[in-house]
């Protein structure tokens, strides 16, 4: 019983962090209606940014947020503005801008290989950071401190993003754009600027996820791929474009991954996660919190 509680807690903590890594993906999809294949790569870039910030300054890992979040916002904003927007404009009469998906795949390959060239293939872990290896020990139970911090950050970030979309003027403009690009344009909203902002916001949120991961996870050029696949599953599970869906989808995956292995071998839990993914696609293609109808 105590094992079950321990595993569930670990699953919820790790799952919230998975949710946070997928949050940026769902924001970008919700607004641009584009599946961003470069999402894992953006996470990788953010992890390098966080890693170097902490490694060079020796600050507490979470203080890296002050640098990583604005840097990644600007990175995402201009990535969209310079690389993706021209393709968007070229395809503006097409309902599903599928070429954009190909472009994001290109961004993925270019950035991953660029990182490999610049930083080499080695695995980097933050040396001696105040969170590393910290555990809360409750009797026989272990709770990882860096994961706890990560989970709290994930939930706080999700609330903040939700509030931003609901209550602020910019947030409403972004939502208007996501509901109907043309109508929003007619109301005087500059849709391409909104796209840049949404992409920047998605990337900045990914930056937050990176900061939570760096204290206990390895940073290496292909790290994005591992979280990429998970991110897609989580987002489809929770509903594409849904903010609470991303976090709850993440927690579901986290719990399966953490509790499952106590009853079977760890490789089976992967099969269960993918099986659930397929099941959701069959039964409720819009996901648990997704909107049923296409806008």
């Amino acid at each position: 019983m105590i094992y079950l509680i321990e595993d569930t807690i670990n699953g919820i903590l790790m799952g919230s962090i998975y949710g946070l890594t997928a949050l940026g993906l769902t924001i970008i999809f919700g607004v641009l209606k584009v599946v961003n294949f470069a999402h894992g790569t953006l996470l990788m870039v953010s992890m390098y940014a966080a890693y170097w910030t902490v490694a060079l300054s020796g600050l507490h890992p979470y203080l890296a947020l002050v640098i990583v979040v604005p840097v990644m916002y600007v990175f995402g904003y201009y990535l969209q503005d310079i690389v993706i927007k021209p393709i968007f404009k070229a395809e503006k009469d097409v309902r599903e801008p599928s070429t954009v998906i190909i472009v994001t795949t290109g961004v993925w390959y270019v950035l991953d290989n660029l990182t490999l060239m610049i930083f080499g293939p080695q695995y980097r872990t933050l040396p001696n950071n105040p969170l590393q290896g910290k555990m809360i020990e409750l009797g026989d139970m272990f709770i990882s401190v860096p994961k706890l911090w990560g989970a709290i950050t994930a939930v706080a970030t999700a609330f903040a993003v939700y509030y931003f979309f609901q209550k602020t003027r910019t947030g409403r403009a972004i939502r208007a754009c996501s509901l109907d690009r043309d109508a929003a344009s007619l109301c005087g909203i500059n849709q391409y600027k909104i796209y840049n902002m949404a992409f920047g916001l998605g990337t900045a949120v990914t930056g937050i996820a990176a900061v939570t991961l760096v204290p206990f996870y390895n940073t290496f050029p292909s790290v994005g791929v591992l979280f990429d696949i998970k991110g897609f599953i989580i987002v489809v599970l929770g509903g594409l474009g849904s903010i609470p869906g991303a976090i709850i989808g993440g927690i579901i995956v986290g719990i399966i991954e953490s509790v499952g292995p106590q009853f079977m071998t760890a490789t089976w839990t992967e099969a269960i996660v993918y099986g659930l993914f397929l099941l959701v696609l069959f039964v409720k293609p819009s996901g648990l919190f997704g909107v049923k109808y296409d806008w």
Binding site: N10, Q122, F142, P261, Q262
Partner: protein
Amino acid sequence: MKFNRFWTATAAAGLLISGLMFTGPAAAGEETIKIGNIIPLSGPSASVGQQGKNAREMAVEEINAAGGIKSLGGAKLEMLYADSESKPEKGVSEAERLINTEKVNVLTGCWNSAVTYPTTAVAERYGVPFIVPVSVSDKITEQGFKNVFRIAAKDSWWTRDQFSFLKDMQAEFNTSVKKLAFVYENGDWGKGMAGQWKKLAEKDGYEVVLDEPYPSTATDLSPVVQKIRRSRADVLLLVSNAADAILLTNTLAEYKVHLKAIVATGGGHADPFFIKAVGKNAQYLFDIVEWETDINKPGAKETNAKFKAKYGYNLTGEAVDAYVSMYVIKDALERAASLNKDAIRRALAETNLTSGPGMIVGYDAVQFDNSGQNSHASPVLVQINDVGNGLERITVWPKSARRAGYTPVFPKP
């Protein structure tokens, strides 16, 4: 890309030069013995191929400088290199070319097991002795061939040695190990190793309390670590790739999992960046490798120093096996005193090399069994520990190769 082209160019130049060199001494009427080497000099395994080439060159230079093969009137060894590009079909066609056009006396190669396997069949057909310095796949020496001789230990011997090591450590430190946990990556490699562990554990009477494959791409290994912790195993045996080796080592330390020892199987644990990435969490870990620079064998240090000065990096397991091969060939040629293929093959089969510059390996002799496998070959076990120069890999097993003055830490405090 640039790199590949560079190596291809080097390989081509090397072939050209060795071709030119052949016409030189032959014209002078001096006898040379041609050794054809099929190794990957471009493509994905190029760096390992280059290590083998450098080691062969150094050995041959030494042999020729010391007067060549005395029983053949001081005949010199002549090296011919062919690039396999890690492709089986390329290895086969290069073997045909070396045998028919270049008329080589002995062949060596090919590092990639997949290349060595079909290429040895060509050598067998023509009756040309083929030395395999290192290609670990078991089946290479299980084809019933008469002309194939392998220096390195085969796959199944790695697990065998992990278990012999466990047995020896228990006797040496008077600590008993009863419960084993197997945790391995869910690929061909990990599953293959674990399959052999299971048989060995049954034979040696251990209780297997955990048998757990995991996906190498896992982003969180704490569930697996929890299972290790709850299994209350004495010793944990691991097969891991790079990222998961780091993650497992750190997570095991975080959960304060108490084990008498952790024995890893190279791979991610032998990665040059592993120790740097996990730091103190790697302390006391055991790992199995082909060779380590600190091995306590006469001449090992000097040979490594010479190699490093010449090529700029330490000898690797692959390089040592290639280096030894040249001395095995020299030894056989001396005894054969003939360039007749059969005479060379017979001499190789009777090899019992126990001393000389080549014997810097962890075991005591090179002797081939009926299948052509070096029956003494064995990898060494190292322990990661800090003896005043930061964490490093220290050879501990077999005892004859143990670093002088080091006592392994077992069980783990």
